[in-house]
């Protein structure tokens, strides 16, 4: 589903290289965890996958279902089914949450040549998905993410993911700032979307989230490269011994 080949990327503004020869393959149905210390390039990878223009790919390629996506803008990638759950979802005053959800869903449908949702159909979908994530209707009446607590923002991200039904989900530090109850709700939301044709990349600093979203593969990212891959046992090993040993081996 996703093949990242010898990817090199830098910050467009100052040329700092962040990703240095990264290789990664994720299959349909797979949950892949990417772990690594601060500054290893985890968030940058999520931005590059979703097409943020602040980063420049200088070498290598990203293939999604066999096609390069490097030339696509973020909206085109989203319409193809790539979803990024933000580490810090932005607050957008003046844009109503419901309006935004409707526009996003319908624009993606339009881009794929599907019919737009009717208002009752849209309302029903939002209501069902919101209930599962314990999202209060009052929250949906507010402007997008404005005044939401950290936990509410993360739940709103998963709500959007559930409504948009992406094929490749990228969760960037979705566990940060969540208490254990909120973490369970969010993890349940992610697990409910697990299906044989959907892949998920979970980017996280800590093993904690992986107790609830169990990965098929675990990859350690350091200095812009994957230095070690394994199964979920690798995450436990990291929890026990920290990153130092693995980094030492790779050096």
């Amino acid at each position: 589903m996703l093949e990242i080949k010898n990817l090199h990327a830098r910050i467009a503004e100052d040329g700092t290289e962040i990703i240095r020869g990264l290789n990664l393959t994720v299959k349909p149905g797979e949950i892949a965890a990417i772990m690594g210390p601060n500054g290893s390039g985890k968030s940058t990878l999520s931005y590059i996958l979703s097409g943020r223009e602040d980063y420049e790919v200088t070498e290598g390629d990203i293939l999604y279902n066999g096609e390069s996506i490097l030339e696509l803008d973020p909206a085109e990638r989203a319409a193809k089914g790539i979803f990024l759950a933000f580490q810090y979802p932005v607050e957008i005053p003046g844009v109503a949450t419901m309006q935004f959800l409707k526009v996003a869903m319908n624009e993606q449908r339009k881009a794929r040549g599907e019919a737009e949702l009717t208002t009752p159909d849209f309302m029903r979908r939002v209501k069902d998905a919101a209930e599962k994530l314990k999202i209060d209707q009052a929250m949906l009446r507010r402007p997008l993410n404005v005044g939401f607590s950290g936990g509410e923002k993360k739940r709103a991200e998963i709500l959007q993911m559930a409504l948009l039904e992406p094929k490749l989900c990228v969760l960037d530090e979705t566990d940060s700032g969540l208490d254990i109850d909120a973490l369970k709700i969010v993890a349940d939301g992610v697990n409910a979307l697990k299906s044989p044709d959907r892949a998920t990349i979970v980017i996280t600093h800590y093993q904690r989230l992986l107790d609830y979203i169990v990965p098929d593969t675990v990859h350690v990212l350091y200095k812009g490269r994957i230095i070690r891959s394994g199964d979920k046992a690798l995450a436990l090993e990291l929890e026990e011994n920290g990153y130092a040993d693995i980094i030492g081996e790779a050096a």
Binding site: S50, L84, I92, P93, G94, V103, Q160, L164
Partner: protein, 424 residues
């Protein structure tokens, strides 16, 4: 010793003087009115149109910007259009002439022409100061409008729309409206071009709020792409009066909207909100001169500007706090979304504070669309153009929503999104 100064008149100034000569006999008004008109025109001729050397016109050099004055042409009879807010009572002024006066229950309404004819309007034909070009032009040429009195303790359920429609030509209107003690009303002053062709429009509204009156006054300027709009409102607020003033500029080629406001009663409150939608090669100037003249009064001013194309905009906000106007609380801000390299916006806040126990502040920002917002929306599949339009809308929607009244909010959001769809 006599010193003779002769000033060469510009083409526009000459055209105004000639138009006055041609119309003088037929302009409505008694002898007192005719005398006032003649004096104002004479002052205009002597001073000329203001230039950038006049401080209050520094960013809108009218002499330079108003190159020609359209001929007073006859246009086909115009019909009133539907009100912007559904259910409003409509008072139409068509090509500068008040349409048949409808009766609105509980309001005292007269065509302004009658006030000119009987001379009772003469006192109002004035310039507010020696640089008041709008007062001079309007006073010289005004033909009609509506004079309205809202009696004390009257509450209007539906808005009243003062609907000034025009085609090409010269249109000069006046709207004196007084709100009796403890009355409540919403007025929409709407200026709208309905046919092509350049127009020169001047319009003055004299707004008086007696003690305890609560008024929402909306100025909706939707002039044509070749029109000059010179608007002015003269406001006086009595004790505990509350005025919510909302100015929307969504049209015109050369626009100056002056807000001359005096807070004269303790406990009075002014809420000014402005939305300026600027596109094409237009020039739009909103100039506020606000006097907090007595103690214990409040005001807040928020102006939001969106600049496209080669448009330029100006906001001048002068707040004067009189020496004994202690406990004044005034906050002004002007935020601009500059979406082009070829456009510009000048913000000039001025505070003149002569009292020592007041809270006054001002701020101005200029920004492009927030890239984090844009990326977030695009990452959810909203194409760039659509995302930009939503973000621009959001920037102004924030203050429109403050109006709270659902019908008003919906109507203004409709005007704004229609404009954005055409220009963005």
């Amino acid at each position: 010793m006599n010193m003779q100064t002769t000033m060469r008149l510009t083409a526009a100034e000459t055209a105004l003087v000639e138009a006055f000569g041609a119309q003088f006999g037929e302009l409505p008004g008694d002898g007192a009115v005719a005398g006032k008109r003649d004096r104002l025109l004479d002052d205009l001729k002597k001073a000329g149109l203001p230039t950038r050397r006049i401080e209050s016109w520094h960013y809108t050099d009218l002499k330079n910007l108003l190159r020609t004055v359209p001929d007073a042409v006859s246009v086909p009879a115009l019909d009133p259009i539907g009100p912007v807010v559904e259910g409003s009572q409509v008072l139409s002024v068509l090509q500068g002439e008040a349409a048949a006066k409808p009766s609105i229950e509980s309001l005292d309404i007269a065509a302004f022409k009658e006030k000119l004819a009987d001379g009772s309007a003469a006192a109002a034909l004035t310039a507010l100061d020696r640089d008041d070009a709008i007062g001079r032009i309007n006073g010289s040429f005004v033909r009609d409008g509506f004079a309205i009195t809202v009696p004390a303790n009257t509450e209007l359920e539906e808005p009243v729309e003062l609907q000034a429609l025009h085609g090409a030509g010269q249109i000069h209107t006046r709207f004196p409206v007084s709100f009796g003690a403890s009355s409540k009303a919403t007025i929409i002053e709407r200026h709208c071009a309905v046919t092509e062709g350049a127009a020169l429009v001047s319009s003055i509204s004299d707004i008086a709020l007696e003690d305890g009156a609560e008024v929402t006054w909306i100025i909706l300027q939707q002039q044509g792409a070749a029109d000059t709009h010179l608007g002015q409102i003269r406001v006086e607020l009595g004790a505990n009066a509350k005025l919510r003033l909302f100015v929307v500029n969504a049209g015109g080629k050369l626009v100056r909207q002056e807000l001359r406001i005096n807070v004269e009663g303790e406990g009075a409150e002014l809420t000014l909100r402005g939305v300026n939608l600027l596109g094409g090669e237009s020039h739009t100037d909103v100039t506020l001169v606000l006097g907090h003249n007595v103690p214990h009064t409040n005001s807040t001013e928020i102006i939001r500007n969106v600049v496209f194309d080669k448009a330029s905009g100006v906001f001048q906000g002068m707040i004067r706090v009189a020496p004994d106007a202690q406990k004044t609380d005034a906050k002004m801000s002007c935020n601009t979304l500059l979406l082009t390299d070829d456009g510009d916006f000048s913000a000039k806040p001025e505070l003149e504070i002569f009292a020592d126990d007041v809270v006054c502040g001002h701020g101005a920002t200029v920004a492009d669309i927030d890239r984090n917002h844009l990326f977030y929306m695009m990452a959810r599949g909203v194409p760039e153009n659509k995302a930009r339009a939503m973000l621009v809308n959001a920037f102004v929607a924030e203050i429109v929503e403050e109006l709270e009244d659902e019908k008003l909010v919906e109507a203004l959001e409709g005007v704004i999104s229609a404009w954005l769809e055409k220009h963005a």
